[in-house]
Every structure is written in structure tokens, then in C-alpha cells.
Symmetry: C7
Subunit: 104 residues, 7 copies
């Protein structure tokens, strides 16, 4: 049985290195950006909002400069990222390299 316990609002995810915390856009939001909605969607939409951005810097010996900013809508690679639940909310943590494009 699942028991969901909400922590305070002060909990937040601070990504390391070139990682980015994403939050998948919910149905009503994805509608606005024109993503096709399916009542029996098997694949989650790959559109998400940027929630937090790591500092970049030296990653695997290579200088990485972060190119996305909090609040942007992005398309990310289907097979990338780690799902994390915090305060009953689901997030996806990806490397910036798994973000394909910004939706403007």
C-alpha cells in the first residue's frame, strides 16, 4: 500500500555538475504547447519544464557550460534520466546532453 507523506515546501533538489531537474508537463499544460494527447498514452510525453539547473563546469574532464534555464520548456531524450519522487511530486533528473531542444 502506498502512503504518501508530504514534506515541507522547503525541500528542493539541487542538481550536481551538468544535471538538470525536469518536471513533466501535465495534460492541461501540454495541450497549450500542442502535444498530442491520448487517453491511453503508453509513452509519456517528452516535454518537460526545467526546475533546477546544475552548475556545469568540468564534467568527465570536459568543460560544460549550461545552456538551459529554469522555467524553459524542453524536449528530452526518451531513454534518459532518473525518475525521483520528492514531496509526492515526480521529477526527472537528466544530463544537459539529454535535452534535445527548447520549445519556444
Amino acid at each position: 500500500m502506498l502512503t504518501e507523506i508530504k514534506g515541507g515546501n522547503t525541500m528542493k533538489l539541487v542538481p550536481l555538475s551538468d544535471r538538470v531537474v525536469l518536471k513533466q508537463l501535465e495534460a492541461e499544460e501540454t495541450t497549450k504547447s500542442g502535444i498530442i494527447l491520448t487517453s491511453s498514452a503508453q509513452e509519456k510525453p517528452q516535454e518537460a519544464e526545467v526546475i533546477a539547473v546544475g552548475p556545469g563546469g568540468m564534467v568527465d574532464g570536459k568543460e560544460v557550460k549550461m545552456q538551459v534555464t529554469v522555467g524553459q520548456k524542453v524536449i528530452y531524450s526518451k531513454y534518459a534520466g532518473t525518475e525521483v519522487k520528492l514531496d509526492g511530486e515526480e521529477y526527472i533528473i537528466v544530463r544537459q546532453n539529454d535535452i534535445l531542444a527548447v520549445v519556444e
Copy 2:
């Protein structure tokens, strides 16, 4: 059941780093460039038009200079890229390295 909702025309994909947004050429267009048409095509044609081009720059620690430009017809690698739907239109986002040749 699929429900397609069209967003405004202002929605657009802005690719990151060395990525390129492609749009597969439709049947009537591929005809012009001489691609063989099959009524029961199982493989999608690999010819596409360049819709948007990322800025290039440092990618995996290596300087990448973009060589394709918007509007070009290109041949891309069959197993590459991520399909994305936006405003009811399908796009493919590939790395420039997955573009094999420009069709002139």
C-alpha cells in the same frame, strides 16, 4: 483515441548544441527529388528538410561547427534521431553527425 490539438504558430523547436531539427519530406516532395515511392513503404524515406540548426560549439569537449543550414534537403542515418510531435507535426531531432549528405 488520439486527440490532436494544434497550438499556435509561434511554437518552435530550438535545438541545443550540435542538434538539428529535421522534417521528413512528404510523398509529393520526395517525388521531386527522385526518391523511389512505394505504396507499402515499410522504411520511411531518409530524406528530410532542415528546419532548425543548433548553435554547435563545444560538444563532448570537442568544437563542433555546424555545416547545414535551414531549408537544405539532407540524407540522415536510418537509426539516428528522436521523433518529436509539436502542433500535430512530426519532427526528427538528430545530431549533425547523423546527417550523411546534402541533396542538391
Copy 3:
């Protein structure tokens, strides 16, 4: 049959290079940070406390600077790390690169 023998408190793990010793947060602790609790949890929560941090330095020929500190709560990659038992306590040793984010 398991026989558990507790060593002295002086036993400690000193990680090499870019490794970090983690201790998974127990149920009562994870509650505080809002992680969903399940009575029949099959996946261990991926939230852990940093117990010890390696010195960093040259790792595989690349300079690695440690970014986490003892006492921080972190999210780490599900498939990473080696489980180790010492003094009847379970620890996980991961590379810093397998730590996705700090929970604040």
C-alpha cells in the same frame, strides 16, 4: 544462519579517489524528506546521507573536484554503487558522478 559481530566504533570506511560512502535513509528519516513510503517497497529509496567523501584528484586522467560534503542528503543513481557491510551497518560506495542531486 547470519551471525552479526559488531566491531568497535573506530572502524570506518575511507573512500579512495572520487568515491563517496553513502548510508540509505531509514523509513523514519525518509518520511521527513517526503519520500513516498511503501509497506512492500521493492525498490529501495535512492535517498542517502553522505558518510565519507574521497579526496578527488586525478581520476582516469581527469581532475575531479569533490562537490558533496559529509552530512548532505543526496539522490543517487539507482544502478550505481557497491553495497558494503561494516559493523552490521550497510553502506553504499558510489562515484561522485553517480550522485545526481543534493536534497536541501
Copy 4:
């Protein structure tokens, strides 16, 4: 059903980076160069003519200098390349690195 539509002669493939467009030598041509002909050949001959040569330059962060020229007969690696049809003609696009030898 296959419907082949020939485009104008002005259509051509311009390979990017270190890629080379090849055209397999047909039976009557391979005869001239001494390749064994089989009436039930299961493997296509790996001999081909160079049709177009990319500009070389920085490829995956390494300087590549093109060493083959249009018109040369070459042997290329069996498992390499992407087949492309243009104007009803089949081409193979390979990286220069997949060309093993020139036949003189």
C-alpha cells in the same frame, strides 16, 4: 508496388565531413577488375567507385584529411555504410575510414 520516378540530372549527393559516396560496380565492370562473379551471389561485391568525397576537416575532434578522389575504385568494409537511393540509383555512403584500399 515500386514506382520509380527519375529526378533531373542536377540532383546530387554532397557528403558531409569525412563521408564518401560510393557506387557499387556492376557485374560487367567488376569483371574488368577481376572480381569473382557468382550467379547466385549472396554477398554483394565490396568494390565500388568513388562518386563524391566530403571535405574532411574536424571529425569527432580529430583532423581528417581525405585520401580518396572521385573516380577511384575502392574496396570498402562489408558492414559499413548506409544505402541511399537517388534518381533510381543506389549509392552507399561510408566514412573514409571504412575504405580499406584503392584498386589500381
Copy 5:
């Protein structure tokens, strides 16, 4: 049938490059350090004593500085190393990179 023949005490293993010769701690020793003992242990404990340390230096084109010393107790990666028998004693030869932590 196993026939064990003991060589002289003068036989010793001198590891090359970044390799380290380890000897697994026996039950009575692992007790001291608090490792859980099981009468039907299927996994060998991953705690071992450092017997010999290679010189380090250039390994795969990267400078490696040895960080462990003879006599230290270490935790090493479960899937690493090569088992070797010499003078009826079993040793494990690992790369220093497969040593996760020192137990103090």
C-alpha cells in the same frame, strides 16, 4: 584431486603498473573488523589486505599515483580482479581503481 605443493617463501608476486595484490581476510580476521559472517556464505567478503602494490606511473596514457600501501585493509569491487594461486595461497590481483575504500 588437488595436490598442493608449497614453493619456498622466496616466491612473491610483483604487480605491474597500477595493479595491487590482495589477500582476502579469513573468517577470524574479518570478525575483528565487524564483517558479517555467514555459515553458508555464497559471496566472499570483499574485504582484503594489501599484499603488494605496483609502481603506478603511466597507465593507458594517464599518470596513476598509487594511494594504497602494503598492510592496509581495503574494500574492493565484487566483479574485479583475477584470482591467482601461489604456494597454495590464493591472491586477487586488482587495478587500484577497483579498490573502493580503505577500512581504518
Copy 6:
């Protein structure tokens, strides 16, 4: 049915980069060099004569200097190389790195 058509003697393979054209030594020749002969050999002998040597130079971004010369007998790696037929003769094209040793 195999039909073998011999080209002129002027046909030759000119290997690119760090590639080497080899010709397996036939039974009567391998006898001279002491290779074991089997009447039902399933593995081809790995001894071969160097027929042509590429220019070396920059290969995958690394300077390669050719170390074998035409006429040498060499041992090459079993799983390496591409078999090629020219003028009814079988050749193997390997990278120099797949040549293990010279037989003198």
C-alpha cells in the same frame, strides 16, 4: 556457380592509412615455417605474407608509423581483417595493430 575471371597483372590493392594487405601462406609454405598442418584444419593458419603496406600517418587522430614491410611473414589476430578477392586470389586486409608478430 563460381566463374573466375582473371584480370591483368596490373591490378593491385593499395591500402589506406594503417592498413596492411596480407596473403595467407599456403600449406606447402607454412610447412617451411613449421606451422602444424592438419588434414581437416578448421581454423586457417594465421601466418601470412605482407603484400602491401599503407602509408600510416594520422589514424583516428593518432600518428601511426608503419612497422612491417612487404615480404615479411607475420602472425595476425584470428578475428581481424576483411577478406578480399582480386584476380582470383584471396587477400586479407588488416590494420597494422592486428599484426601480432613477425616470424623471422
Copy 7:
């Protein structure tokens, strides 16, 4: 049927680059060095004598300095190397990197 034909004593293997020619120690020799003998050994002992040593130098773009010398007894990695027969004798050709330790 195996037919063994011995060549002259002048035949020898000259390894290229960072390769080393090894000869497995026979039972009576391995006894001296204390390796456990089994009457039904399924794994060959991994102890061998160094027969010939390549020149080292630039290997895959990295400077390799040879650290073993002819006549040394060494332990090598179980899954490494290529077996070669010359003059009815079996040899193993390994890269120096597959030699784990010298037995002194």
C-alpha cells in the same frame, strides 16, 4: 589428423609494439613455483615465461614503456592473448597490459 613438422631453430617470433610472447610453464616447472597441480585441471595455469618482448613505443597514441624482460616468470590475464604454434611449440602473444605480475 595432426602432423607436426618442425622448422629450423632459426624461426622466431618478433612481437610488434607492446606485445609479449609467452610460453606457458609446464607441469614440472609450475611445481617449482608452487602452483597447485590438479590431475584434472580444466583451466591452464596462467603462469608463463617471457620469450620475447616488443619494442613498445607509441601504442594507440600513447607512449608505452616495456616493463618485462625475457626469462621472467609472469602471471597473465586468463582471457587475454592469442595462441600461436610455431615449430610444434605453443606460444601465447599478449599485450603487456595483460601481464598482471612478475613472479620472483
